[in-house]
Symmetry: C2
């Protein structure tokens, strides 16, 4: 019988990022495709029937696919230089939970599936939860097809390369219609369970969350030959935005605003940039708080751009309001799991996308470092096993 940490060890090394540390596994890139193949192999070894849907999400069925199914799973892609657990822990615990249920002679009374969602982090095409957004119709498929990665490859090209039909991307009621309830297990991305001394918890809600792309345009020129007074340097308003983001988020209770990706173009050390692209990640407890933070940051960006003779264009690349997970389902799971802690999270998940369409719950596994989206992210083997046991308990309850 497999363990979650044993399964994780089997994929250690796939997509290892020597430059950044950690792993870089992005939607439909070589590392992520290798992980999909690995998952298909593990599913088939267990006699699960594998289907890839129109949007590149992979489903492994225990029993014939059918309506009112109980579905669990997560994703295998990572942020650039991410940790080993964010995503893969939800897939490996699902495989191990199936093994555990079978070892206990459990036979599901309704269909049960493990799903692997495509490009959850948005690390390649910029939109988080891309596979689940396409599945549920939360993103326009034309807009999605036109998304490009850093090399200019479009999503349409990438999925075609992976053997999918770009024209068929988009809302898939046939696949989604089978899902009765969805449960995602995920490594916790903070210190909530550490502080509570609990290995496993349940999710209450996800912060409202969006990504905005700011393009500042100035005038590219020579770093030595151009007088200070003659400059229109987009790095100035871009830097002002980074500082304004901190100020704005500090002013709204529980809000977060982050610039983790910033790209000056052309990017030469002796060149005044002609443009700077930066991505603002902003979240708060509700829609009004998030909009207030982004509004304040945008106003600061416009003002700083004008001061430098630059222009700024803002694009909302993704947005989702606060997610409150199904209370009845959570109470039911809390009953069988024995009053585990219930926590809110600031991190986005495919479960947050599915929650708009089907009753959805999330399980968290303790992360002793509290760090996430970084190589220091961790879960102890014993806690992974506690996660497998909790997930198996939940699946037994829901599919029994």
């Amino acid at each position: 019988m497999s363990t979650a940490d044993g399964l994780l060890a089997a994929i250690d090394g796939v997509g290892a990022d020597r430059r950044r540390g950690g792993f870089s596994r992005h939607g439909f890139d070589r590392a992520e495709l290798e992980l999909r193949e690995w998952f298909v192999g593990e599913a088939e070894r267990r006699g699960l029937a594998v289907r890839t849907d129109r949007n590149g999400n992979v489903w492994a069925w225990w029993g014939a696919p059918g309506p009112d199914a109980v579905v669990t799973g997560s994703h295998l892609d990572s942020v650039p230089g991410g940790g080993a657990f964010d995503g893969p822990l939800g897939v490996t615990t699902a495989l191990a939970a199936v093994d555990l249920l079978r070892a206990n002679w459990f036979v599901p009374a309704r269909p049960l599936a493990i799903v692997v969602f495509a490009e959850e982090e948005g690390g390649r095409f910029g939109v988080p939860c891309l596979g689940s957004r396409l599945l549920t119709g939360a993103i326009d498929p034309d807009a999605a097809r036109r998304l490009t990665d850093a090399d200019g490859v479009s999503l349409a090209e990438a999925v075609a390369e992976a053997g999918l039909q770009p024209a068929r991307l988009g809302r898939d009621d046939e696949a989604l219609g089978l899902v009765g309830r969805f449960v995602e297990l995920h490594v916790e991305q903070g210190r909530g369970l550490v502080d509570l001394g609990a290995p496993v918890g349940l999710a209450s809600s996800i912060l409202a969350h969006g990504r905005w792309r700011f393009r500042f345009t100035g005038e590219g020129n020579h770093a030595g030959a151009t007088l200070i007074g003659d400059r229109r340097d987009p790095m100035l308003p871009a830097s002002a935005l980074v500082l304004a983001a901190r100020r704005a988020a500090s002013g709204v209770d529980g809000a977060r605003a982050t610039v983790g990706r910033l790209v000056p173009n052309p990017g030469g050390a002796n060149v005044i940039a002609s443009t700077v692209d930066l991505w603002l990640d902003a979240r708060a407890g509700d829609d009004a708080g998030t909009r207030a933070v982004v509004g304040e940051i945008s106003a600061a960006a416009v003002s700083a751009a004008a001061d430098e003779g630059c222009t700024v264009a803002v694009t909302e690349e993704s947005y989702g309001d606060t997610v409150h997970f199904d209370a009845a389902l959570r109470d039911e799971l809390s009953g069988v799991l024995g009053d585990v802690p219930v926590l809110a999270t600031g991190a986005g998940h495919d479960a947050g996308i599915l929650a708009a369409r089907v009753p959805t719950a999330m399980l968290f596994v303790r992360n002793p470092t509290g760090v996430s989206h970084a190589p220091a992210e961790h879960a102890e083997a014993a806690d992974c096993t506690a996660g497998v046991v909790a997930l198996a308990t939940v699946l037994e309850r829901l599919a029994g």
Copy 2:
């Protein structure tokens, strides 16, 4: 007989950068090697004897190589997304000047050579004028061999790949000892000649100039799950540095300070960066002014890093004091060119490196946009021809 703009047209397209616009041609990369081959072909078509020195600089000799030679030339590499003229204009005008001199039945009384210096912009390995610094001993060859590009390839590996011996990099008195006087022609990188209504000018001096690399280290973490109060985000002090650079340069007459390259690591939109590398390009009229600007910026960086719980490490990647070109040589050229304007420049050049060892002069050709290190950089065909005539006049005087 060739023209400078005709020769430039022949290499248009080599190293075209579709993403950034303009050209990306960097030391020993495919585009730069293709341009070297093109230069060797052009030199051999003219019966010039081509030699590549130990540091990868290419010399094309009219007459047997020997001491007290008159040497002209420039470089073929570019900044990332650079213009078509910065570098190649000095090489193409040199070839066209040789044609013009021969058409006028000129026979040099002393050896004459055209040189193409390697990696003048530092666009790949970070140190500007790398080929001329190695030639003259202005950089320690061990330090140079350890320089790496963005993919982690070292200079030692890159030159080995290009057929050179890494162990032989460094001061080359045999090659340098042949150079009696050096004259570099370059497109102007400002509007000096435009404002004066002159197609050609002579250089007086180059600003003191250095590059400093700042590495800010914080703690990589999740952009959504990490409370604002728990963050150690190196993007904050990095942004503070960009704003401090503008303030510091504004406070010293004629100084410039630029951050054109800034790289958050890992660079995910939903990830608080663990480190940020940025490169400060600072220049001023003299050593004291440059040091004052960099000192003020560094102090601001240290303070902002401490405020965020980050650390900062500063490395001086290159530095050169103010260059005053040889006054006697300039006066001699001014005599034969008929009182052309004499201008200072903020841009660095191989001529500035050679000036420490041999009498050196520079010719500038008018740039109607005043823009440089960007695709908008330009020189009209008539002004290129004026540059060829001026350079031929100078070579005739010095080698006659």
